[in-house]
């Protein structure tokens, strides 16, 4: 009997019972599969230098990439604005995918609509779909703004968003003065971070208000940062320094909303009025560089506003950020932040012995990787393999300069444009102590046994990591916690066999 009602076994245990193991053996007869010896031989070969060379000779094939496509980043950017409904013009399946992806990571609802274009729209264009779609979502979901981006279908057939929106307004889909910013977000250009940039620029362009004498504020652009509570930490730091500010845009509540028994569809925290007034700020500080390039260029050219990239991650990153704030505003760095800095540094010195010289591999978006490199280098860790699928030249130069500035950065190679199957070869041929990346790293962990610290997007298989801040001194403590305790967990795993390895199964570490 397979199930005992007092201890019901789901897939985790059920299939290890003998009746299922026998079933698997019977099934193999029909699979006409390769012999176990052959599979073992090839499996070994995939770990070799020979395989690595063939793997790196790839020119056309991508396997297990660490990047998504533009509209995902676009709707992520849009979600930070008050009452904003992302509208994706093109095939509808894309929106189902984006919503699923974001929801699986954040465990939060995510609303976005599609213009549901089908074959007739492929022939005649998607104007009708947009007219109807805007009218429907405006009536049903009562947004304050509809942020429009595209799927590759609409891009390939060349739909003219600006003209379509004008026509839709003329047809009465939404009021003439209703904001419908737009961005072309073809999935065959760039990645999700490009989409973030394009959409944010589109929204700021649409919302920009009249120029006044200046509002005395600073604007902050978080970038494609899925640790959305970083916005709250940023806000707290800025308030501590008494710096008036606008976050463009704060989606912390969109992806971390309270459960109070009522579903609230719109949680974007940056009001449209604040966004409109952003044109009058003293300067704009982007916390990421490569997800904000076009937006910054726009702000500099159109708003004549200085922009800076400052990454408040790790100690030195946060130091530089605070000093930049102080320089721009003339306000001193408050004692409170010095105390917090001290606590973070204290934590780092407490743990440094366990991380110093630890060789690691990392993959992720360019800006995330820079931030984490900065922190791990100042911890004394040694980056070895750095894989950035959605890399670019600027990033590689910046990362190189950062690595060169630390003696423990010299071993690292930046593998721009490579994917996680490349990384698999790297981990087999040149093993490291630790891997930092998103949930897809678990397949590398399984194959190469390299312990995985889950930092990045998406994280589907661990709960609540996204609710922690990674920004500022407080964020440094969280990053440290994840990294050092992964190392210590691994140490326990390697020393837990009674009478064999458990001589080092220490109580105190």
């Amino acid at each position: 009997m397979s199930q005992n009602v007092e201890q019901i076994n789901d897939h985790v245990r059920l299939f290890h019972q003998p009746e299922y193991q026998e079933l698997f053996a019977r099934k193999r007869e029909f699979e006409n599969c390769h012999s176990p010896e052959e599979v073992a031989r090839v499996a070994e070969w995939t770990k070799s230098w020979d395989y690595r060379e063939k793997n790196f000779a790839r020119e056309a094939l991508t396997v297990n990439p660490a990047k998504a496509c533009q509209p995902l980043g676009a709707i992520f950017a849009a979600s930070g604005f008050e009452g904003t409904l992302p509208f994706v013009h093109g095939s509808q399946g894309c929106v189902a995918y984006f919503r699923t992806h974001l929801t699986r990571h954040f465990k939060e609802p995510f609303s976005a609509v599609s213009s549901s274009m089908t074959e007739d729209a492929a022939v005649f264009g998607g104007l009708k779909n947009m007219i109807e779609g805007l009218a429907n979502c405006y009536a049903l979901y009562k947004p304050k703004m509809i942020a429009l981006c595209t799927t590759c279908m609409a891009e390939v057939i060349g739909d003219d968003l600006g003209a379509f929106i004008t026509t839709s307004k003329n047809e009465g889909s939404v009021p003439q003065d209703f904001p419908v910013p737009y961005a072309h977000t073809p999935s065959f250009v760039g990645s999700h971070i490009t989409g973030y940039d394009n959409m944010l620029k589109g929204i700021l362009l649409e919302l920009q208000g009249p120029r006044t004498e200046g509002n005395g504020k600073l604007n902050f652009i978080p970038g494609f940062d899925t640790y959305v509570t970083n916005n709250r930490e940023l806000d707290r730091i800025l308030n501590l320094m008494d710096i008036p500010h606008t976050i463009l845009a704060d989606n912390s509540d969109s992806f971390d909303s309270p459960n109070e028994g009522e579903y609230v569809m719109y949680n974007g925290k940056t009001t449209l009025a604040e966004a409109a007034d952003a044109v009058n700020a003293r300067a704009t500080i982007a916390l990421q560089a490569y997800s904000t390039e076009k937006t910054r260029a726009f702000i500099e050219q159109e708003w004549q506003q200085p922009t800076h990239v400052c990454r408040p991650f790790g100690i030195r990153g946060t130091d530089a950020f605070l000093m930049k704030l102080s320089e721009l505003t003339g306000k001193p760095i408050p004692r409170q932040l010095e105390i917090e800095r001290g606590r973070a540094v204290d934590a780092m010195t407490d743990s440094q012995a366990w991380l110093h010289g630890k060789r690691f591999a990392i993959y992720g978006d360019p800006d995330l990787v820079i931030a984490l490199l900065s922190f791990t280098l100042e911890m004394g860790m040694e980056p070895v393999h750095i894989v950035v699928t959605n890399s670019n030249e600027g990033f590689e130069q910046e990362a190189k300069a950062l690595l060169d500035s630390y003696p423990n950065g010299k071993e690292a190679t930046i593998w721009g444009g490579r994917d996680l199957w490349h990384l698999r070869s790297l981990l087999f041929t040149e093993p490291v102590d630790l891997l930092i990346g998103n949930s897809y790293g678990k397949f590398l962990w399984r194959d190469t046994k390299t312990p995985l610290v889950r930092i990045g997007y998406p994280i589907f298989d661990r709960h609540h990591l996204h609710r922690y801040t990674t920004l500022g001194y407080q964020g440094a403590i969280n990053l440290l916690n994840w990294i050092v305790n992964t190392v210590l967990d691994e140490l326990d795993r390697q020393t837990n066999i009674t009478g064999k390895t458990d001589i080092s199964f220490d109580l105190i570490r």
Binding site: K27, K54, K67, G93, C137, S187
Partner: protein, 483 residues
């Protein structure tokens, strides 16, 4: 709430009022209340989703790559086009399989041609050919390749069929081009159909002449194929075990934990057992017409229908099988009795709103009923007319029916009908949990499962109990806010 038939109709009308006229007229045809004695749910289906309403539907690519072909474990499935489609559908569906991933099986990997602008401008055929060469170098043990084309491929006039033919000859393996661009059809459903057709045209058309011996196969009188079980959380295994126990030999699982060899074997059975009618009926009908293999739809959700299905299946064989079916039903009776004795008192009378894809909007109803629960509303993401006909076997009069329900409608129905549990998908889950409504995902089994078969029913019961009776729901309102 025990609303009357008329009150429910009234409710539907109220919900529809939010729509602009044109959309309201379209949507009202998709909503209904089941009437006594009717053999159809009385809704329109398999029609284009209205733009802008927040449909839950996916696309043809999702149906072809994600559902039908993707689970064939020892083939490589190329997401051909830009990066996103393959990325979002990467390892998300829990189609369990046994194998050494990256060596002889590839289920949780993502392979893509990662189209760039130049591929759109100059075409992607050359790149595709190169992708296949590189796959052969790096994954020599793959048993074949499928090419799932994404939207741009169909718009720029690429000839993936020509590439497939040429490369198949060169590498000596099947290369199957699947024209499942996301703009085709109205939902993932057309993707299922397209994928089915490629099995017919690109696999069976040749493989049906291959002698049994070459496929390592010796026929027996008790051979069946399990079609359209995608082995989510191991569902196909907890089904297969019962079929084997009644004396049948499962020669093919198509496609959950399926191998390409099993795909080719599937029409060599005596009977095809179809789990997900919606996604694989096309191929079953083809196998019936072309190879004379009859098929039947079975339902392994909950003991009542498992027993019914086992008897129905056994009916197609001899007395030995019929006797064994009875023995198996009897064998599992105590297990089911124990599960029901434990969980039914905790679940009795709980009311469920259901909305899923495939077969589940009807097939899981009996499992709820076995636990004393009542499904008060159900609907399909991408059902067709035949699904809504088959549904009335399962539903009570007064059940609210919603086809391709929109986010707005579903939320409003939940507010008005006040169910105890919502059983739907990941995009819906947290919407309803924020309303303090217990929820179970009915696509992924909320990362649990299997739910099929007797072993699965125990897990299903456990999971419904843990969802409904979690103390966390009682924490949602702060005590000082409660009246």
């Amino acid at each position: 709430m025990t609303a009357t038939h008329d009150e429910k109709r009234q409710m539907i009308q109220e919900v529809l009022e939010a729509y602009p006229d044109k959309a309201r007229k379209k949507r009202e045809k998709h909503l209904n209340v089941i009437e006594e004695g009717k053999s159809d749910c009385g809704v329109k289906s398999n029609i284009k989703s209205i733009p802008g309403v927040m449909t839950t539907r996916g696309c043809a690519f999702a149906g072809a790559k994600g559902v039908v072909w993707g689970p064939v474990k020892d083939m490589i499935h190329i997401s051909h086009g830009p990066i996103g489609c393959g990325y979002y559908s990467w390892a998300g569906r829990r189609n369990y399989y046994i194998g050494t991933t990256g060596v002889d099986t590839f289920g949780t990997m993502q392979f893509t041609s990662d189209f760039q602008e130049r591929d759109i401008v100059f075409g992607g055929d050359k790149k595709l050919a190169k992708v296949i060469d590189e796959l052969e170098t790096l994954f020599p043990l793959s048993q074949g390749i499928t090419i799932e084309s994404e939207c741009p491929v169909g718009l720029i006039g690429d000839d993936i069929e020509a590439v497939a033919r040429k490369k198949a000859k060169e590498i000596g393996k099947s290369v199957v081009p699947v024209r499942c661009e996301g703009f085709r059809g109205v939902s993932q459903s057309l993707g299922h159909h397209i994928a089915n057709d490629t099995v017919r045209d690109w696999v069976f058309a040749k493989s049906d002449k291959v002698p049994n011996e070459e496929l390592g196969f010796t026929p027996s009188p008790y051979d069946v194929s399990v079609i359209g079980d995608y082995n989510i959380g191991g569902d196909a295994w907890s089904s297969r075990i019962l079929l084997e126990e009644i004396g049948l030999r499962v020669i093919s699982q198509f496609s959950g934990d399926g191998s390409f060899n099993e795909v080719k074997l599937s029409h060599r059975s005596k009977l095809n057992l179809i789990h997900c009618y919606r996604s694989m009926n096309y191929l079953c009908k083809h196998m019936e017409e072309t190879y004379g293999v009859p098929w039947l739809e079975f339902n392994f959700f909950g003991p009542t229908y498992i027993a019914k299905s086992l008897r129905k299946i056994a009916e197609r064989f001899d007395d030995t099988i019929r006797a064994k079916a009875e023995a198996v039903i009897a064998k599992y009776q105590p297990q089911c009795d124990a599960v029901i004795a434990k969980y039914r008192p905790r679940l009795e009378g709980k009311r469920v709103l259901l909305m899923v894809g495939g077969l589940r909007p009807r097939h899981v109803i009996p499992a709820f009923r076995d636990l004393g629960m009542e499904v008060i509303g159900t609907g399909y993401e991408f059902g067709h007319n035949d699904d809504y006909k088959l549904t009335t076997e399962y539903t009570d009069p007064g059940t609210v029916i919603y086809d391709d329900v929109t986010g707005y409608e579903f939320e409003e129905f939940a507010r008005k009908l006040k169910p105890d549990l919502i059983a739907s998908g990941i995009k819906e889950k947290y919407v309803f949990q924020k309303m303090a409504l217990p929820f179970r995902q009915m696509h992924s089994w909320d990362y649990s499962g299997p739910y099929h078969g007797y072993d699965g029913f125990a897990i299903f019961a456990r999971d419904m109990d843990l969802a409904l009776n979690s103390p966390t729901w009682g924490l949602v309102k702060a005590p000082w806010q409660q009246a």
